[in-house]
């Protein structure tokens, strides 16, 4: 709650705040929307629809901007080019490193191949992703939002293009407010055209994960008639990319994303957040004033109220009002402020990754506390290691052949002429290797029982051998019969064993033989 308390520093009496958490949270979110004077006056106009609110983030350079560039290039490069990476699997298996093959029910990731019944590995990945998000949050707040979230990465990409075509913040504001000249029309058309191209490329890259990428690119480039769903998915992702990154931008974070809400419940007082160090910054005043005030012996803060932190913010918040819902912790305001502090020869990091608690401690003359190692970070890290380790272990030790048995449900058992009994089973053999394999089937558990596989006569040595194609499964109907009366009522455990004719490896599946 430290985050919110500083957001409404204007509230006079601390006593009145007690029990008003909800209203305070509300106020914190209002601050973002009412951050410009224009919005302020329109809201008073008895309008029940929010006034248009457009953010014009200014260009900035600095440490965090460079980190952001690096992550942006890396993540975009992975997204756009990963489908083209080849991986030789031998045989007829697809040679694409990352491929979701829906028609054949296979998911390929480099050396890993996932079958539909192993989809729990994807569940495991989602759990790992969630825990990693929690860990990031415990260490440094919403850095996911600020650096790696696709919404941020693509919005940043779109803003860069916008800046390239229309110029920096001041030029863009002037352009938007100005009349529709030939130049404005040209700039607007080329901006939206480039945006649509990027959006289309984004949608196009998406479908490449589901089919052989070079083939699909060739098909698209030569305008061959493809499947309708290919164009549908490209269309959907073109639309969402264009609208989310071009038009909605920070509004998606403010209105649609659940993470800011969940994050607020997961954070604690030790998590680093982009923080304005008001112990150093206040009272803010211009350089000239500061000289006079300091000469008079009165305190003056380092903040010169230049507004650069607000000007560069991609979501348009004022970080000096404290940590808030609109802040995605990208650190661009730190870069902007450091630039100004450098110029006026004051120490940098008036805004920095810090905690509200430390600011308060410094105000009271106490030292700052940083605790990256604490119960929750250790717990998250251990959970990530444990789950990741367990998944890797099961992945490394899983077999390349499999047998599963399904007992007939109706009838459970059949009485035979001579008083014996028969049970029917559906047995499925899986061959996860890239070459065809032969499995010899045997069954144990019922003394004197005969096994028959429908459609597969025994070979010369009396063995029943089933051939399963590469990377395939084959189903067989297996009948198990006893002869003569005298069986005991009830169930007898049986085990079906498949033996790889070449390697001698075996797998077993258990079931029961039921007496009628």
């Amino acid at each position: 709650m430290a985050a919110i308390e500083s957001a409404d520093a204007s509230v006079p009496s601390p006593a009145k705040r007690v029990g008003r958490d909800r209203e305070r949270a509300f106020a914190a979110s209002r601050v973002i929307i009412m951050s410009s004077a224009e919005t302020h006056s329109t809201l008073l106009d008895e309008s029940f629809v929010e006034a248009p609110h457009k953010v014009y983030p200014k260009k900035v350079d600095g440490q965090f901007r460079r980190i952001k560039w690096g992550i942006q290039f890396a993540t975009l490069a992975i997204y756009y080019f990963l489908p083209f990476v080849r991986w030789d699997r031998g045989g007829d298996a697809p040679s694409q490193a990352v491929l979701v093959d829906f028609p054949h029910r296979r998911f390929y990731f480099f050396f890993i191949e996932i079958w539909p019944q192993e989809v729990y590995y994807l569940t495991g990945l989602l759990i790992l992703a969630a825990l990693t998000l929690f860990l990031m949050n415990a260490v440094a707040g919403r850095i996911w939002c600020g650096y790696m979230c696709p919404q941020t990465v693509w919005t940043d990409f779109f803003m860069t293009t916008e800046r390239w075509i229309e110029g920096d913040a001041r030029d863009r504001i002037k352009l938007d407010e100005g009349p529709w000249t030939r130049d404005k029309i040209r700039k607007k058309i080329s901006k939206h055209f480039v945006w649509l191209l990027i959006a289309w490329w984004t949608g196009g890259a998406w479908v490449l994960y589901y089919t052989d990428a070079p083939t699909m690119v060739w098909k698209l480039a030569t305008f061959q008639k493809g499947a309708f769903d290919t164009y549908l998915w490209i269309g959907i992702l073109t639309f969402t990319t264009y609208v989310f990154a071009g038009v909605m931008r920070e509004k998606l974070c403010l209105h649609a994303c659940p993470w800011p809400r969940i994050q607020a419940a997961l954070t604690d007082e030790y998590a680093l957040n982009v923080t304005y160090r008001y112990d150093r910054g206040e009272p803010r005043m211009s350089l000239k004033q500061a000289v006079a005030v300091r000469a008079a012996g009165a305190p003056s803060g380092d903040c010169v109220d230049c507004g650069q932190c607000v000007a560069v913010c991609p979501t348009g918040v004022d970080i000096r009002k404290g940590s808030q819902l609109g802040c995605i912790q990208c650190g661009l305001c730190i870069d902007a402020c450091d630039g100004v502090m450098d110029k006026i020869h004051r120490p940098t990091r008036l805004i920095g990754y810090d905690t509200e608690m430390n600011v308060k401690r410094r105000q009271c003359g106490e030292g700052a506390i940083y605790k990256p190692l604490r119960a929750r970070t250790v717990l998250y890290a251990l959970l990530i290691l444990a789950i990741g380790g367990f998944m890797s272990a099961t992945l490394a030790t899983r077999g390349d052949m499999h047998v599963s048995v399904l007992h007939d449900r109706n009838p459970l058992a059949v009485r035979l002429k001579d008083g014996g009994a028969r049970n029917g089973y559906t047995v499925r053999f899986a061959n996860k290797k890239a070459e065809p394999r032969r499995f010899a089937i045997s069954v144990s558990g019922v003394v004197g029982a005969q096994m028959e596989v429908v459609g597969v006569p025994p070979d010369g040595k009396g063995k029943v051998v089933i051939e399963v194609g590469p990377d395939q499964t084959r189903e067989a109907r297996v009948l198990l019969s006893t002869h003569g009366a005298g069986g005991s009522k009830g169930q007898i455990p049986v085990a079906f064993t498949a033996t790889d004719a070449a390697s001698g490896a075996t797998v077993e599946a258990k079931d029961v033989f039921i007496w009628p």
Partner: protein
């Protein structure tokens, strides 16, 4: 414009002010000192709202929607769910076409020894069985009293693939089919061939063949009656005769039941169950698939 423009703490009807505690403008509505904060709708939300309305109207123009006195609007592309189903079924036939053609062309034994055809035939057969056969023979072909169990190894009319196929095609005692399996057991009691006491004796005797738990030792009298009346169809010692549809009597499988009252009733009343002929109702490929499916249930010979 600063907050001082507004009367702090005194809301007047229709007058907007900023709530000093939350910093949020009010709507000007006030009830006994309780004011309503104005939380404006996000603009994108309002736009989405209007777009859905336009979309909804467009939808009813493109697709059949509005009722008229004589029917309804057909939409721009005359789309309807019936033609959609017909197209889907046609698609399915195209997909299944090649394997169905192979099943149609292959002899029955060939289908069973080819893994691909066996799997396809069992799949087609299973669906056809559930639709057409399960009402009498049960969902798993387990049968019921008077309806043969198709899983066991006892076949009244023969358990070879060709026998099963013929039974499915022409039925049993199905009068409108000339090739139907027609032999019927006489009603020995009702027609006065045997007396009630003779029936009781021969029933006791028949039950000794299967060694039912409560049966007595075979009697010479029973053996004589059996030889004179029953053996011509059911064979010596109740071995049965699939040519005549005469069930084997020595085994542990009884269509109607093995207790004496049931056996007596069968001898007295004769007759037999009826099964419809399916040729003409089902196409040849489906009948072949059904024969393979039934044969593969376990009892096929």
């Amino acid at each position: 414009m600063s907050d001082d423009t507004f009367d702090k703490g005194q809301a007047k009807p229709g007058k907007v002010r900023i709530d000093p505690l939350s910093g949020v403008p009010t709507t000007g509505h006030e009830w006994d000192g309780i004011e309503e904060l104005n939380t404006p709708l996000p603009r994108w939300w309002v736009w989405t709202f209007w777009v859905t309305i336009v979309w909804g109207i467009g939808y009813t123009i493109v697709y059949p929607a509005w009722p008229t006195l004589s029917g309804g609007t057909q939409g721009l592309f005359a789309w309807n769910s019936r033609t959609q189903v017909a197209a889907d079924v046609a698609d399915l036939q195209t997909t299944r076409g090649p394997v169905l053609e192979k099943i149609a062309a292959a002899p029955l034994e060939k289908i069973e020894s080819d893994p691909e055809l066996l799997a396809a035939a069992r799949m087609v057969g299973k669906v056809a069985f559930a639709t057409n056969c399960a009402s009498c023979h049960g969902a798993g072909g387990q049968g019921a009293k008077g309806y043969a169990n198709l899983n066991d190894d006892d076949w009244i009319w023969g358990g070879k693939l060709s026998d099963i196929k013929q039974t499915i095609e022409h039925g049993v005692r199905w009068e409108s089919d000339k090739e139907t399996r027609s032999s019927t057991m006489p009603a020995f009691g009702r027609d006065g061939v045997l007396t009630a006491q003779q029936i009781s004796i021969v029933a006791d005797h028949v039950r000794t063949y299967a060694e039912t738990p409560d049966s007595d030792a075979p009697t010479p009298e029973g053996e004589k009656l059996y030889a004179e009346n029953c053996a011509s169809c059911h064979g010596a010692e109740g071995k049965g005769n699939p040519e005549m549809g005469a069930p084997a009597l020595y085994d542990q499988i009884w269509l109607y039941g093995s207790d004496k009252a049931t056996v007596v009733s069968r001898i007295r009343n004769g007759g037999g169950a009826v099964m419809p002929a399916w040729k003409g109702k089902l196409d040849d490929t489906t009948i072949k698939a059904l024969a393979v499916y039934v044969h593969s249930l376990g009892g096929g010979q």
